[in-house]
Subunit: 337 residues, 2 copies
Amino acid sequence: MRKGSGAVGVRDVAVAAGVSAMTVSRALRGIDGVSEATRQRIASLAAEMGYVPDGTARALAVGETRLIGISVPNLFNDVFADILGGMRRALHLAGHPSIIDTTDYDPSRELDWVERMTVWRPAALVLTGCDHDPGLAPILTRARLPVAEVWDVRTDPIDFCVGVDHLAAGETLGRHALSLGYRAPAFVGPRPGRDRRADQRAEGIAMAFAGIAPLARIVAEEDSAFVAGHRGMAQVLSGEKRDAVFFHNDNTAFGGLMAAEAAGLDVPGDIGVVGFNRLDLTRVLSRPLTTLETPRRQIGQMAAAHLLARLNGVTPPRVTRLECRLIEGGTLRRVAP
Amino acid sequence: MRKGSGAVGVRDVAVAAGVSAMTVSRALRGIDGVSEATRQRIASLAAEMGYVPDGTARALAVGETRLIGISVPNLFNDVFADILGGMRRALHLAGHPSIIDTTDYDPSRELDWVERMTVWRPAALVLTGCDHDPGLAPILTRARLPVAEVWDVRTDPIDFCVGVDHLAAGETLGRHALSLGYRAPAFVGPRPGRDRRADQRAEGIAMAFAGIAPLARIVAEEDSAFVAGHRGMAQVLSGEKRDAVFFHNDNTAFGGLMAAEAAGLDVPGDIGVVGFNRLDLTRVLSRPLTTLETPRRQIGQMAAAHLLARLNGVTPPRVTRLECRLIEGGTLRRVAP
């Protein structure tokens, strides 16, 4: 039932799915006459079994084996735009076109995308972060694809990862505020579980304050980070008194600054504000934001360099952890503890 | 030499290129042994001649004929993120995966991308704006692909377009400032020729002031729109006195506001500031920015709806011009003319 090369064929998928080879063929070609549910089941099964269409036909048809697929949570975010900017330019110069898809932080959408992409036999894939659907790693390992995980780091990447340690990032910011005398911290960000990097940073801040003060966590999710920050700060101000508010990122922090201003409060006189990333916006503020600069373009460039090395038979380091830089800014001050 | 269907085959391309069919095949498959220059020449020629790989092999190989390719200038820009957000969700729900590429406002990169994409035989393409390399329309017409041009409008789209009239947008903003008594306008934006939409808006503003006052055009290009706006405003302030500064977009305008503040000027007391788009940032500012709200998500949604209609045999209107909304805001005031 298998082709000479030992590869999985249409018939293998048909047997596994309990349908005819013709149905598998129609389903995978997107031809009508197969229900959507069946089509999806067959496509999943085909991807799971490592089915790839005949190599020669595929290469001739697609005319492209240098393609690199990149998956990011969304495009609204300057962070991913910076990482992509650094990465795609390097890949492009090396003759690798890349295509992008977005997951909206949904592991099942990321999995769908990987299943679709592997059928196209790209040269490599790039994934954002290190948390994926459990079904994802086996598919990639079976496809023997080089895979870069970027932005986050973990000790056991699928292939290799390039990013920053978000727990340590949170701890750096927390310790800085603590050393200035702040004792009533709050964190404004997405609901726990949505964005593991945000969760890790919140945990890092909490660790810095452990045994001294609890970290209040305020959930603020809006289409716009600015609006989320504004509402998050309003919520902080309506509750028990807090002296320093850590925001999910700089855009959220800017929304918080505007909400404090609207409430007649002075920052840092009445309340401290801390961002994350040092996004472009912070480069023009009259009072610089206290934040942590993340090496986003460098992550993109290094991930590209490692991928290109990998494609040329050189094994890159499995874990590349890049340093962040504390920007002391002017939205925290020394307070009497 | 041609296949039964009248389609262009590998041999036709080989004859035209003066090489063997094997070389064409190797070149299009990205196999080594063909110089990069030759590969590019053959790929261009193949695209130009309308060569597409054998349909059945292609469909079986790619397993995907529902793919929609989308090209945008960049991903750093909230405008394109909004348009894409509105569009991709609708396409996704209709079972059309979409992939994105960026052109960095370079028509030759857009052309390259279209050439690459047409070989993949997507269901449709989406292009940003209506200004393309002259070689682009013939390729798309020959490929008989549905094509949506979004964000800008023109009377003779390749297939159909959905967007706003940027000339009229500029004129609306210019007339508003004029009616308030402003008489010394400046425009801060990219160099003429880089972004036709910006050029059109500048022209619209100039039209509003025609015969009354000339529009000073200040070029400010930086990686960051915020920084560009900051520097642009600094440049305006260092020159002949201006009373109203129109910015390329709201993020640039915010940079300008910060530069005015840094120079000790009050807005709108000492100088007026006008943005464009009503980006998210403006939703949290204490003093609302005078700007024009563009229907970005609606453009994306309508372009998707028209594409889906088109794919189902319904011809959409060739030109769909959506309205913008003036946000009077607080960064212009009534001045004695």
